[in-house]
C-alpha cells in the first residue's frame, strides 16, 4: 500500500508541476504488463490503487474484470493484458489499478505494476509504424524510447470508448 501512496503523492506533485512547465514536453505514467512497457498521459490519471478485487459484471467483454467502489462511484476495471490479447491477468495484491478519466468517465486499468513517471518532449514520441490492420496498434498513439526501453503510449479514448460501447 505504501508504494501506492508514494506513487500517488508523486503523481500529485508531478501533476501540479506540469502546469508550470513549458508546453514542449509532456509527462506519462509508465507501467508494465509482463515484459512490455506502456504509458498513459499523466493528465488523465486520477490515482493509482492496489488491486483489491472487483465484482464481475455479467454479459460484458472478457477484458472487463468487473466493477469497484471508488469512493461511492462504480468504476469498471479493464484487464489491459486481456484487452491487448495476451491472456488473462491473475491479479494479486501487488497488482495495480490505474484510475484514468476520459471525459469525466472513470475507468480502472489493471496492470502488473507502475514503473515510472516519464517526462518526454513532444518530438521524442515516435509514430507507430504503419500496419494494415494493426490490432494492437489501433490502441496506441505512439512510441517513446526511455533509456533503452520502448514504451508504448496508450490511446485511452480508443481503448476505453470501445469498452463502453459494448
Amino acid at each position: 500500500m505504501t508504494v501506492q501512496s508514494d506513487l500517488n503523492e508523486q503523481l500529485l506533485a508531478q501533476t501540479s508541476e506540469t502546469g508550470n512547465q513549458d508546453s514542449g514536453s509532456s509527462q506519462f505514467v509508465a507501467f508494465t504488463i509482463g515484459e512490455q512497457n506502456y504509458c498513459v498521459d499523466i493528465m488523465s490519471v486520477r490515482e493509482i490503487r492496489a488491486w483489491t478485487g472487483a465484482t464481475p459484471l455479467p454479459n460484458t467483454a472478457d477484458y472487463v474484470r468487473g466493477v469497484i467502489n471508488l469512493r461511492g462511484s462504480i468504476v469498471p476495471i479493464v484487464d489491459l493484458r486481456t484487452r491487448f490479447g495476451q491472456g488473462e491477468t491473475d491479479p494479486t495484491k501487488s497488482h495495480v489499478v490505474v484510475i484514468v478519466a476520459i471525459e469525466e468517465r472513470l475507468n480502472g486499468l489493471l496492470v502488473d505494476s507502475v514503473s515510472d513517471i516519464l517526462t518526454v518532449s513532444a518530438e521524442n514520441v515516435a509514430a507507430i509504424p504503419e500496419t494494415d490492420v494493426g490490432s494492437r496498434a489501433r490502441y496506441l498513439d505512439g512510441l517513446i524510447t526511455e533509456e533503452d526501453r520502448m514504451v508504448a503510449l496508450i490511446a485511452l479514448d480508443r481503448v476505453i470508448d470501445e469498452i463502453s460501447v459494448q
Binding site: L57, N69, R71, S73, I74, P76, S164, V165, Q166
Partner: protein, 707 residues
C-alpha cells in the same frame, strides 16, 4: 448579458408555475366555481406573466397577456359576468399564452398574428377596445379607493424616502412596512421616480420612496415611533388627511395608466430578482391594492429554487453516509457493547439521525404530481377537438409527492395513456347516447401513495377492452400461441407487448402500436409496474405503481456462487425452497416450477451470468419475482443473506448498460453488489424456444413470448 439570461431563465420557470396555477384555476371555473378567490388568483397569474414579459421585453406575450388580464379585471370587478363561453375563451387564451411563452423560451418561430383572433375575441368580450378598458379599470379603482375609507379613525398620509444606503446599513424598509401594517389598514404605493436605468442599478442600493395611507386609531406619535431608527437620515412626513383630500389623491394616482403600466413592469422585475416569489407581482392596475393579502403572499413565500445538481450532490453524500454507517455497524459486536456501552449508545443515536437526514434529503427531491397533471387538461381538450368526442378530465390527488426524476419521466407515459383512453376507450357522442351513457366521456387521473409506492391510475368510462379481439390480434401477430390459455387479466395486459396495436385505422393520435409498449418500458425503467384492467362496456383502468424515489431501494441480498446480488424487494412475490418433484425440465424452456397453478420459468443466476457455482446445490432457493407485463419468473439462488436498504448507483455513469443488471450498490464492507433487473432476467439463461412452438400454458409462456 449573463444576468439577463438568468432573468429569462427565472421568468420561464415562473411562467411554468404560473401557467400551472392558471390552468388549475381555469379548470375550477369550468367546473362552475366562480368564487372570488379563484378569479383573483386567475387574474394574478396572468398579471404576473404580463409583468415579467414587460420587464424582459417579450412584447407579444405582454400584449396578449394584457388582453387576457383585462378580461379578468372586468370579471373580478363584477362588470362582466362570467359565463361558460367566457371560460371556453379563457381556456383557448390560456393555450395560446402557453404557446407564446413556449415559443419565446425555445426561440421557435410562431406564426405572426396567430394570437390575433383570440385577442380580438377577448377585447370583444370586454366590450370595449383596449384603451378604454384601461380607463375603466382606473375608474373602477377610484371607486374602490373612495369606498375604502368610511368613517375611519384617522387617515394619515406618510411619505418615506430612505437613504440610498439604507439596505447596506441594515435598515430593510420591508420590515418597516410590515410593522406599519400592524397599526391599521395600510395601503402602499412605491414612488420610483429616482429609479435609475437597469444598467445603472446598484443592487445594494435603495432607490424607492413610499407613499403610505394608514388608517389607524393610533396617534401620529405611534407612527413616528416606527420610523425612529431611520428618521434621522430619511425624508419622512406624516400628515393627517381629511376625506376629500384622499379622494382627490385616489384620482390622481389612478388616472394615469402609463404610470400603472410602469409599476407593473417594475414589480415583475423585483419578483424575478427575488428568485421565485411569484405572488409578488400584485395587481398594479389597482391603485389601492389590498396590501394585507399581497403581503401575505409575497412574504409568505417559503420556497427556494435550488439547482437539481446541488440536491443530487446532497443526496449522494447522504447515500455515502448511509454506507459509512453500515460499515461502522459491522464493527459493533458484543465485545464492544460490553467494553464501550456509551460509545454504542451514541452510535445508535448517530444512526437514527442519519436515517432522519436521509428521509429529509429525499423529501427535497419530492414534488407534487400536480406539475404533470396540470399538462393533461390541455391534451384532453386538443384530443376531444381532434376526435369530435366529448371528454372531460377529472384529476385527484394532485398533491401526492414523488421524486422529481420520476415526475420528469412520467409525462410521456401519461400522455400515451390518455391518448389511448380517448382514442380507443371513449366512444363517440352518438355511440354513447345509443348505449345510454352520458354523452360526455370521463377520464379520471388520480394519484395516491400506498405504502412505499405511488399509485397513478388513468381510468376511462369508455368501451373497455374487447378480449376476444385482443386475443385474435395477438394470435394473428404471432405474439401468443393459438391455443394459449390466458386469463382475462393476461389478455388485457397483452396491450403492453411490443408491436401490439388493435387500432383498426392508424390515427393521428395513437394506434401505431408503440404507445402502450412505450408506457410499459418507461415505467419499468423507473422501477415501476404497469397493469391494465378492463370491464367491457364500462371502461378500463391503467394502474402505474411507482417507487417513491429512484435513489434508494429496499432489496433482498442473495448469494449465488461467490457473488452477491440485490433483488428489488418491490418485485419479489415470494421466496421458497421447492421440493424436487415441483421442478420439471422442458426441452426448450429449461426448468420450470409449478407455483400457484402456473408454470414459472426458472433462471439460475449462475447460468444467466456465466458464473461458477461454488458447490452442487441440493438446497437451492427460488425467489419468485414479478417480471414484465404481470409475468412471473423464478430466480434460483444459493443463499438469502438478508434485506437491506441500498443506495442505487449507476453503472452507466462510468460504463454502460449491462443486460440483466439494473445498477449497482455498495455493501457495508465497501464491495460492489449488482442489482438485478428482474424485468429482463427472464430473457437471460434458459434456452430460447422458437416462436409459436411452445404450448406450455400459463405465464411461463407469456414470458417467453415477450422475450
Amino acid at each position: 448579458m449573463l444576468e439577463l439570461d438568468q432573468f429569462r431563465h427565472v421568468y420561464f420557470q415562473e411562467c411554468e408555475d404560473l401557467l400551472g396555477s392558471l390552468e388549475v384555476q381555469l379548470m375550477a371555473l369550468q367546473e362552475g366555481a366562480a368564487a372570488d378567490d379563484v378569479i383573483q388568483e386567475t387574474f394574478r397569474a396572468i398579471h404576473s406573466i404580463k409583468g415579467g414579459a414587460g420587464a424582459l421585453q417579450f412584447k407579444r406575450i405582454g400584449a396578449f397577456a394584457h388582453n387576457f388580464e383585462a378580461l379578468f379585471d372586468k370579471i373580478r370587478s363584477g362588470e362582466t359576468a362570467l359565463n361558460p363561453d367566457l371560460v371556453t375563451l379563457s381556456l383557448h387564451a390560456f393555450d395560446m399564452l402557453a404557446d407564446l411563452i413556449a415559443a419565446e423560451q425555445s426561440g421557435a418561430e410562431i406564426e405572426l398574428g396567430i394570437e390575433d383572433h383570440i385577442s380580438e375575441a377577448l377585447q370583444e368580450a370586454i366590450g370595449t377596445e383596449q384603451k378604454s378598458a384601461r380607463e375603466d379599470r382606473a375608474e373602477a379603482g377610484r371607486e374602490v379607493s373612495g369606498a375604502s375609507e368610511p368613517d375611519a379613525p384617522t387617515l394619515y398620509r406618510i411619505t418615506f424616502r430612505p437613504p440610498t444606503d439604507s439596505i447596506t446599513r441594515g435598515n430593510e424598509p420591508l420590515y418597516l412596512i410590515r410593522a406599519l401594517k400592524t397599526l391599521g389598514r395600510l395601503s402602499v404605493s412605491a414612488d420610483q421616480d429616482s429609479l435609475p436605468l437597469l444598467e445603472d442599478i446598484d443592487p445594494q442600493a435603495s432607490y424607492l420612496a413610499w407613499n403610505f395611507e394608514l388608517e389607524t386609531g393610533a396617534g401620529p406619535e405611534a407612527i413616528a415611533e416606527m420610523f425612529e431608527f431611520v428618521a434621522d437620515d430619511s425624508d419622512l412626513s406624516i400628515t393627517a388627511l381629511n376625506e376629500s383630500e384622499n379622494a382627490d389623491d385616489g384620482r390622481t394616482a389612478s388616472a394615469d395608466p402609463a404610470s400603472n403600466e410602469r409599476k407593473s413592469v417594475e414589480e415583475g422585475e423585483t419578483s424575478e430578482a427575488g428568485g421565485g416569489s411569484q405572488g409578488a407581482a400584485k395587481s398594479a392596475a389597482n391603485p389601492n391594492p389590498d396590501m394585507n393579502e399581497s403581503n401575505s403572499r409575497y412574504f409568505g413565500a417559503t420556497s427556494v429554487r435550488v439547482d437539481l445538481d446541488r440536491v443530487d450532490r446532497l443526496v449522494n453524500m447522504v447515500g455515502e453516509l448511509v454506507i459509512a454507517y453500515s460499515t461502522v455497524l459491522q464493527h459493533v459486536d458484543d465485545r464492544l457493547r460490553m467494553t464501550h456501552p456509551q460509545l454504542v449508545h451514541e452510535l445508535s443515536q448517530f444512526i437514527q439521525h442519519t436515517q432522519t437526514l436521509q428521509d429529509s434529503v429525499m423529501a427535497i427531491r419530492a414534488q407534487p404530481v400536480r406539475s404533470i397533471f396540470a399538462r393533461m387538461p390541455r391534451l384532453v381538450r386538443d384530443l376531444s377537438d381532434q376526435t369530435g368526442k366529448r371528454v372531460r378530465l377529472k384529476t385527484k390527488g394532485e398533491s401526492t409527492e414523488i421524486d422529481k426524476t420520476v415526475i420528469e419521466k412520467l409525462s410521456d407515459p401519461l400522455v400515451h395513456m390518455i391518448r389511448n383512453a380517448i382514442d380507443h376507450g371513449i366512444e363517440t357522442v352518438e355511440e354513447r347516447q345509443a348505449l345510454g351513457k352520458p354523452p360526455e366521456g370521463t377520464i379520471t387521473l388520480s394519484a395516491e401513495q400506498i405504502g412505499g409506492r405511488i399509485i397513478i391510475r388513468v381510468r376511462d368510462d369508455g368501451r373497455g377492452i374487447d378480449r376476444e379481439r385482443m386475443r385474435r390480434v395477438a394470435v394473428d401477430k404471432n405474439l401468443i400461441a393459438p391455443d394459449a390459455n390466458l386469463s382475462d387479466e393476461e389478455i388485457e395486459n397483452l396491450v403492453f407487448l411490443p408491436g401490439f396495436s388493435t387500432a383498426r385505422s392508424v390515427s393521428d393520435i395513437s394506434g401505431r402500436g408503440v404507445g402502450m409498449d412505450v408506457v410499459h418500458q418507461n415505467i419499468q425503467k423507473l422501477g415501476g409496474r404497469v397493469s391494465m384492467r378492463s370491464q367491457p362496456g364500462r371502461g378500463s383502468t391503467i394502474t402505474l405503481a411507482l417507487p417513491l424515489t429512484l435513489a434508494v431501494m429496499d432489496g433482498m441480498i442473495v448469494r449465488c456462487g461467490d457473488f452477491v446480488y440485490v433483488i428489488p424487494l418491490a418485485n419479489i412475490i415470494q421466496s421458497l425452497s421447492p421440493r424436487p418433484e415441483e421442478i420439471g425440465t422442458l426441452p426448450d424452456t429449461g426448468d420450470v416450477l409449478r407455483f400457484r397453478d402456473q408454470y414459472v420459468k426458472l433462471v439460475d443466476l449462475n447460468d444467466a451470468f456465466g458464473t461458477q457455482s461454488a458447490a452442487a446445490n441440493d438446497n437451492q432457493l427460488i425467489i419468485i419475482v414479478e417480471a414484465e407485463a404481470g409475468g412471473v419468473v423464478g430466480i434460483v439462488v444459493e443463499e438469502i443473506l438478508g434485506q437491506e436498504q441500498v443506495v442505487i448507483k449507476s453503472l452507466e455513469e462510468n460504463f454502460s448498460h449491462v443486460r440483466g443488471i439494473a445498477g449497482a450498490t455498495i455493501m457495508g464492507d465497501g464491495r460492489v453488489a449488482l442489482i438485478l433487473d428482474v424485468t429482463a432476467i427472464g430473457k437471460l439463461g434458459g434456452k430460447r424456444p422458437n416462436a409459436g412452438t411452445v404450448a406450455e400454458p400459463g405465464v411461463a409462456e407469456l414470458q417467453e413470448i415477450s422475450a
